[in-house]
């Protein structure tokens, strides 16, 4: 694997110094942040019964979200892997959407479909049944499954795509069908992918903030991240916030390490994987089952998006100037955040690709630390550290961009590392023998392979940052909000039309940024 480093063992200074700097920065901003908050706390904090309840709720909702998402993804992935139909590509793009969708917008969409005055409740009421009440666990699960069902389906589709075509041919030749086929061909492939999918979704849901804030409903349905926010911002109890952050760190570190160990990196192309020709599923029952799985999947994922589009369209006309100003701020934050993400992830990836195997694993694991970190703890630590020198509120936007970049760095690292390693493994020796070094090596060996992953990573980082409602809530002054914060303020002050209009603009901003960068990457 490490052909280029077989002789020298350790990477050259041009790779080692920036990589080590990025590594230290990430470690300081995650583990260091917890230490800063804990030191600042007056006296040892104590966790209340409510905090432990929040911890237990966090675990339960994350576990249930993961189980439900993966269970529903199996029939969906199975159907998508063996059917060709018009609109299949559109569905593929739709499945990439929830991951980029700003959580606050998705929550609005999920509420518009499943909430008390949503479409489903309207339909139930019209036939005399009671309206749904999703606040609490059901709402949190609905929103999390909406986000993660497509992620799970894509991971399982990758597992389907990895099944050698001969295996399907062999099964068809031997006449293996139905359940026997599932056990013989599909089961073993899925068994390899399911633990990783469960771990990834658990880790994502365990740090959930906006969903719990909007749909959690009271102290019985509070996540740790929400408890950190309340302890720090509403009660200014830093000791408790630090303890909660440690608890969350421990919980998420376990999940994140499991995800790292178990999950295959998500393929760069957000579309469906290569289509293998199949001979199973010709029976009427299989056709009906697949059609049902695909139709229900489309409805579940599409309706909330449609609700936001339909309800938001009228609100776009005559949006107040404040919304445009907020959109400008969000755009600036997103672009800076994307650049910072790359500035962290690229040196880290280069370092991890150049290190010997065991050390590389440590570097990669350290680069993934932010998955387990709380952006609020990071925000509070920055707040504490900067207050003696500057007014943190004046730095609200740069700090938000920095925190977003740190949180996006693990995703970017996971996207960039595999192609770097592959380039190194396949042509590293050739490049060595030709004496390619430094910039020439980067230009000839790495950049051609990295362009698409770079575009994807930049687009992802920009979209996530543009749509993030999290740490900005800590710093921002009400007169200079970002677009997600303004949307949240509009929604909570009952200006729903304006909120929906802002939501539409936010969707346009997030997806537009992703589309532009991703398109650049594809040349």
């Amino acid at each position: 694997m490490n052909g280029a480093t077989a002789l020298s063992r350790w990477p050259r200074a041009g790779v080692a110094v920036p990589g080590a700097a990025a590594l230290l920065l990430v470690a300081a901003l995650t583990l260091g942040a917890v230490a800063v908050v804990a030191l600042r706390a007056e006296g040892p904090g104590a966790l209340s019964a409510a905090d432990w309840r929040a911890g237990w709720f966090t675990v339960r909702q994350a576990a249930l979200s993961a189980l439900i998402s993966v269970a529903l993804a199996i029939p969906l992935a199975r159907a998508l892997s063996r059917r060709r139909f018009a609109g299949r590509d559109a569905l593929a793009r739709l499945m990439g959407a929830p991951f980029l969708l700003p959580s606050i917008v998705a929550i609005l969409g999920v509420s518009a479909v499943w909430g008390r005055s949503g479409w489903v409740s309207d339909a139930l009421a019209s036939v005399g049944l009671p309206r749904l009440d999703i606040y609490g666990m059901p709402g949190v699960l609905l929103a999390h499954v909406f986000f993660n069902l497509p992620l799970a389906a894509r991971l399982l589709l990758q597992a389907y795509a990895a099944i050698p075509p001969e295996r399907w041919r062999l099964a068809a030749q031997l006449g293996v069908q139905g359940w026997a086929l599932f056990r013989l061909v599909e089961g073993p492939a899925l068994r390899g992918a399911i633990p990783g999918a469960l771990a990834v979704i658990f880790a994502v849901c365990a740090t959930s903030f906006a969903v719990a804030l909007a749909l959690g409903g009271g102290p019985r349905a509070t996540t740790l991240e929400l408890a950190i926010f309340e302890a720090a911002v509403h009660e200014f109890d830093l000791a408790r916030a630090a303890l909660l952050a440690l608890l969350q760190f421990a919980l998420c570190a376990v999940a994140a390490l499991a995800a790292l160990a178990l999950a295959a990196p998500l393929a760069t192309a957000p579309g469906l994987a290569r289509l293998t020709e199949r001979w199973d599923g010709a029976s009427p029952a299989a056709r009906i089952g697949d059609a049902l799985a695909i139709a229900l999947g489309c409805l579940f994922l599409g309706l909330p998006l449609l609700a936001v589009l339909l309800k938001g369209a009228p609100g776009v006309i005559g949006l107040p100037d404040a919304v445009w100003a907020a959109a400008g701020r969000s755009l600036a934050v997103a672009l800076v955040s994307a650049a910072l993400t790359l500035a962290l992830a690229l040196p880290l990836a280069a370092l991890a690709a150049a290190l010997p195997r065991r050390a590389a694993l440590w570097a990669e694991a350290a680069g993934l630390l932010p998955i387990a970190a709380s952006p609020f703890v990071l925000g509070i630590a920055l707040f504490i550290a900067l207050r003696p020198w500057a007014d943190p509120a004046a730095l609200a936007l740069p700090l938000t961009a920095l925190v977003n970049a740190v949180m996006a760095a693990p995703f970017a690292l996971r996207i960039l590392l595999p192609p770097l390693r592959q380039a190194q493994a396949e042509h590293g020796r050739l490049a060595d023998s030709l004496g390619l070094r430094g910039l020439a090596r980067a230009r000839i060996l790495y950049l051609p392979r990295l362009r698409a992953p770079l575009g994807f990573a930049l687009g992802l980082a920009a979209a996530l940052s543009a749509g993030d409602l999290g740490v900005i809530a800590l710093f921002s002054r009400p007169e200079a909000p970002t677009l997600p914060l303004l949307m949240h303020l509009l929604a909570t002050s009952r200006q729903l039309d304006a909120a929906l209009g802002a939501a539409l603009m936010l969707i346009g901003l997030s997806f537009g940024l992703f589309w532009l960068f991703d398109r650049w990457g594809r040349g």
């Binding site: 050698p164 001969e166 062999l170 030749q173 031997l174 013989l184 061909v185 001979w279």
Partner: protein
């Protein structure tokens, strides 16, 4: 017997035209450059690639519209002939019952097929505990149990050394002869093709493949058509 009459097979943009007649029990080698359509031919006969014109007849049956499992053929791939999580005996047993609920008599037949292919006592192993040659022997054992009139070999021995390859070919011939199985084998090795009863050349021109009948292999190699002569080169 295997008979292709004006067959046109299409896989993506690639088109293969073939006329070929192999009498019952004969061993025919198919040789030609990569990408010429040799594998496409086998996939078309086995029902994995669409036949858009002409007829495919095996053992007197027109195969049009038949599902892969219903066709009177067994196909051995170059690779991935065994399910990695099933034991060798289970993999072979699939040839008798896809749900693997084997009777005692069927289990005995599995043992006999393993013995015939030189895998006696290895039935409990997993495929990755076998050598490459042993894995292909197990796939051959399953084909013997299925006992279809035609056996299609898609370079299943290409990764083996010359000695092992000769051994496997002898094994195939020894197993096919008493059953009067018609064998069609794709190969890259002129030496292997020379030992066959018949040989056919798969020519490649402008992204299309063409197979124009089989001849006794001694005759074909004694007087190769221009395309085959070019493929064989100076060493041919």
């Amino acid at each position: 017997m295997i008979a292709l009459e004006g067959m046109v097979a299409q896989s993506g943009d690639f088109i293969l035209r073939a006329d070929l007649a192999i009498p019952k029990g004969a061993f025919c080698a198919l040789i030609g450059p990569s990408g010429g359509g040799k594998s496409t031919l086998l996939l078309a006969i086995a029902g994995f690639v669409a036949v858009t014109a002409g007829r495919v007849v095996v053992a007197g049956r027109d195969l049009a519209g038949l599902a892969p499992a219903a066709r009177p053929v067994s196909l051995l791939f170059q690779d991935n002939n065994l399910f990695p999580h099933l034991s060798v005996a289970q993999n072979v047993g699939l040839g008798l019952r896809p749900d693997l609920r084997l009777s005692a008599a069927q289990a005995a037949r599995v043992e006999a097929a393993l013995a015939e292919t030189g895998l006696e006592g290895l039935g409990a192993r997993l495929p990755d505990q076998l050598s490459g040659g042993q894995r292909q022997r197990a796939a051959l054992a399953r084909a013997l149990l299925r006992d279809r009139p035609a056996l299609l070999l898609d370079e299943p021995f290409a990764a083996l050394g010359p000695g092992l390859r000769a051994e496997m070919l002898a094994l195939v011939r020894a197993a096919a002869a008493p059953r009067a199985t018609t064998v069609l084998m794709v190969t890259h090795h002129p030496g292997d093709a020379r030992t066959a009863d018949l040989a056919a050349f798969c020519a490649s021109e402008d992204g299309a493949g063409r197979i124009d009948g089989a001849r006794p292999s001694a005759a074909l190699f004694a007087d190769p058509p221009p395309g085959l002569a070019a493929y064989l080169g100076a060493t041919g």
